[in-house]
Amino acid sequence: MKSSLLIIILILIVITYSIFERKNAYNLFIEGAKEGTKFTVDLFPYMLTFVLATTMLSSCGITNNINFQISVKNIVFPFDIILQALIRPISSSSSLTIMLEIYNKYGVDSPAGIIASFIQNSTDTTLYVITFYFGCVKINKTKYAIKAGFLIDIINFLIAIFVAFLYFKLQ
């Protein structure tokens, strides 16, 4: 069984349910896709900034010369992964860009590609979420929220690495 099957099943469930509820799935899809389009167009400048930064970083030669790598039990952590993990809580699109670079460089199913996927999925843009949510309802005293948020980020990062290693071990 491939995961493509899961994707098709998910789509099937959603569409079938809308038939039972007598909703116009076609119009609803277009409405949602329109919203997504706006979001994607807005995303372009953000991605541009980070593709520029990572391109400059990798083409200036600094990463080749330092050869910054940590390896644990034959599994190599390239510099990109550390960069991705540091950026993940601040900007989702930037860390996504780095993840896709890792897919291109090392392969999607390589250890580096797998770890990058887990890191991408491990947390959200913590700082943004906290300030946005509380900002929307005009709350300025957030107490321990940011401290706790960052502590959780560190824990999530460790969980991502731990689970990735669990996967490598069980193969």
Binding site: S3, L6, I7, L10, I11, V14, I15, Y17, K23, A25, F29, I30, E31, G32, A33, G36, F39, T40, F44, M47, L48, V51, A53, T55, M56, L57, S58, S59, C60, G61, I87, I90, S93, L100, V108, D109, G113, Q120, N121, T123, D124, I130, Y133, F134, I139, T142, K143, Y144, A145, A148, G149, L151, I152, D153, I155, N156, I159, V163, A164, Y167
Partner: protein, 193 residues
Amino acid sequence: MNKIWVTIIILSALYGIFFGNVEEMVNSILNVPKKTLELLLLVGGLMIFWNGIFNIAIESGLIRRLSKLIMPFTKKLFSKLPSDHIVHEYICANICANVLGLGNAATPMGIKALDEMKKLNEEKPVATKSMITLVLLNTTNLTLFPATLFSLREIYKSNINIKLLPFFIVCTILSIFFVLIVDYLFRKFSKED
């Protein structure tokens, strides 16, 4: 974000000028817009597609139905809020949308929930412990099936997606567990509410 970006660019530019190959660097820089557009077509196209599918799920009431399933748990977690208040429905919808990977749909629900909590707290501009619990849950990834990430991996011709799925679920469960622990500890050691 600004500081990080500026630092990376200046550092790379200086390093490139003194030690690297400037010619090569400029060539790659000029390729940046093209590369970005390619990435955007890949990621953006998927996001647009899933947004469409998930909008059907929201508007047809599928999410609302799923919300009812987790209501008993969230009522315990947010026991400080009056138990028959509408705020619980918003909280459930927010968590459900997150679990299904619908970040964009989760946000408005979460904000409605916070707004109701603020009303319950006499409109004070101060975060209550319940509010922080909800926001912290939103800062982690609660997704059980990361649809966009999996679609991306599928495009990159991954062969092991289905083998990885249980590990992603383990990851999510562990992180929910730790969020609740951290939240509990902070609740305990902060005096006022």
